[in-house]
Amino acid sequence: MDDWMKIISAIALVLMLIYLVPRAKMMMQASAEVENKDWKGALIPILFVVLFVVFLISTV
C-alpha cells in the first residue's frame, strides 16, 4: 500500500472511531438493560461458524 493510501485509510478509520464510539456506549447501556440473556443460545451458532471457517480453510 502506498504511504498516502495508508494515511487516507488511517484518517477514515479514525473518523469511523469518532463516529462509532458514542454509539457503542449507548448500545452497551441498552444491552445491559435486557433481562433475558441467552448466552448459550447465541454462542452455539457462533461456535458452528468458527468450525465452518476452519473447515473452509482446510479445503483451500
Binding site: A12, V21, A24, M28, S31, A42, V60
Partner: protein, 222 residues
C-alpha cells in the same frame, strides 16, 4: 412499497413481521446481485485500488448520514442501491488481485459460498428459535471498536498474524450482528425493511471480505 410497514395497536403483528422479513430478504437479494454486477464492471474497467478506498468511504458516508434521513421514504431504496453499488465497485480491485494468483478463483468461490452458508444458517437459526439476541449488540459494537483500533495499528505495522486475527474477529462480530438484526425483525424491533437490509448487507459484505482474506492468507502458506 412503503419502507415503513404501517401497523396499528401496541404490538407488531405476525403479519407485519412477515412482511418486513419478506421485503428485507427481497431487497437484500436484489442489492447483493447489484453489487456483484458493479464488482464485475469494476473488474472489467480495471479500476485502480485507490478508487476502492474512495468508494468505501463514499458508501460509509451514505450509510451514516444519508440513509437514516431517507430510510422512511422511497428515496431510501435509491440510497441502499447507491451504497451497495459503491461497495460492489470497491470490491473489484480486490477480486482482480485474487484472480491473478494461482487458485484465486477457487478462493473467491469458496468465500462466496461460505458467506452464503453462514448467513443462511444464522438467519435461519434466529428465525426458527425466535430468540431475542438484542443483548449481544453492545458487546458486538464494543468488539467492533477494538477491531477498528487494531486495524488502524495494522495499517502501519503490517503484521500478518494481526491481519488474520482481525479478519477472524470481524467474521465472529458480523455473525453476531446477523443474529441480532434477524431477531430484531422477528421480534418486531425493526419495522423498516430498508434499515434492516442495510444492516444485513453490511454484515454479509464484511464476512465475505474477511473470509476472502483468511482463505487468501492460508492459500499463500501452502
Amino acid at each position: 412499497m412503503n419502507p415503513n410497514t404501517v401497523f396499528t395497536g401496541a404490538a407488531v403483528t405476525a403479519e407485519v413481521r412477515n412482511k418486513v422479513l419478506r421485503d428485507t430478504y427481497k431487497l437484500l437479494s436484489i442489492t447483493l446481485f447489484f453489487s456483484a454486477i458493479m464488482a464485475a464492471v469494476s473488474m472489467a474497467i480495471a479500476m485502480p485500488p485507490i478508487m476502492s478506498l474512495v468508494c468505501s468511504i463514499g458508501a460509509l458516508l451514505l450509510v451514516w448520514f444519508v440513509l437514516p434521513k431517507t430510510a422512511h421514504s422511497s428515496t431510501g431504496i435509491f440510497v441502499v442501491f447507491g451504497f451497495t453499488g459503491l461497495l460492489g465497485l470497491g470490491l473489484g480491485p480486490m477480486l482482480s488481485s485474487y484472480l491473478a494468483i494461482p487458485g484465486g478463483s477457487q478462493i473467491i468461490m469458496t468465500a462466496m459460498g461460505g458467506t452464503g452458508a453462514i448467513f443462511l444458517g444464522l438467519s435461519g437459526y434466529a428465525l426458527m428459535t425466535k430468540k431475542d439476541f438484542s443483548f449481544l449488540s453492545g458487546m458486538l459494537f464494543a468488539g467492533f471498536i477494538v477491531v477498528l483500533v487494531a486495524a488502524l495499528a495494522n495499517i502501519f505495522f503490517q503484521i500478518p498474524a494481526l491481519s488474520l486475527a482481525i479478519s477472524g474477529a470481524v467474521i465472529l462480530i458480523m455473525s453476531g450482528f446477523i443474529l441480532v438484526d434477524t431477531s430484531r425483525i422477528v421480534n418486531g424491533g425493526e419495522t423498516n425493511y430498508i434499515m434492516a437490509t442495510a444492516g444485513l448487507y453490511l454484515a454479509i459484505y464484511n464476512i465475505f471480505v474477511s473470509l476472502l482474506q483468511i482463505l487468501g492468507i492460508f492459500n499463500n502458506e501452502d
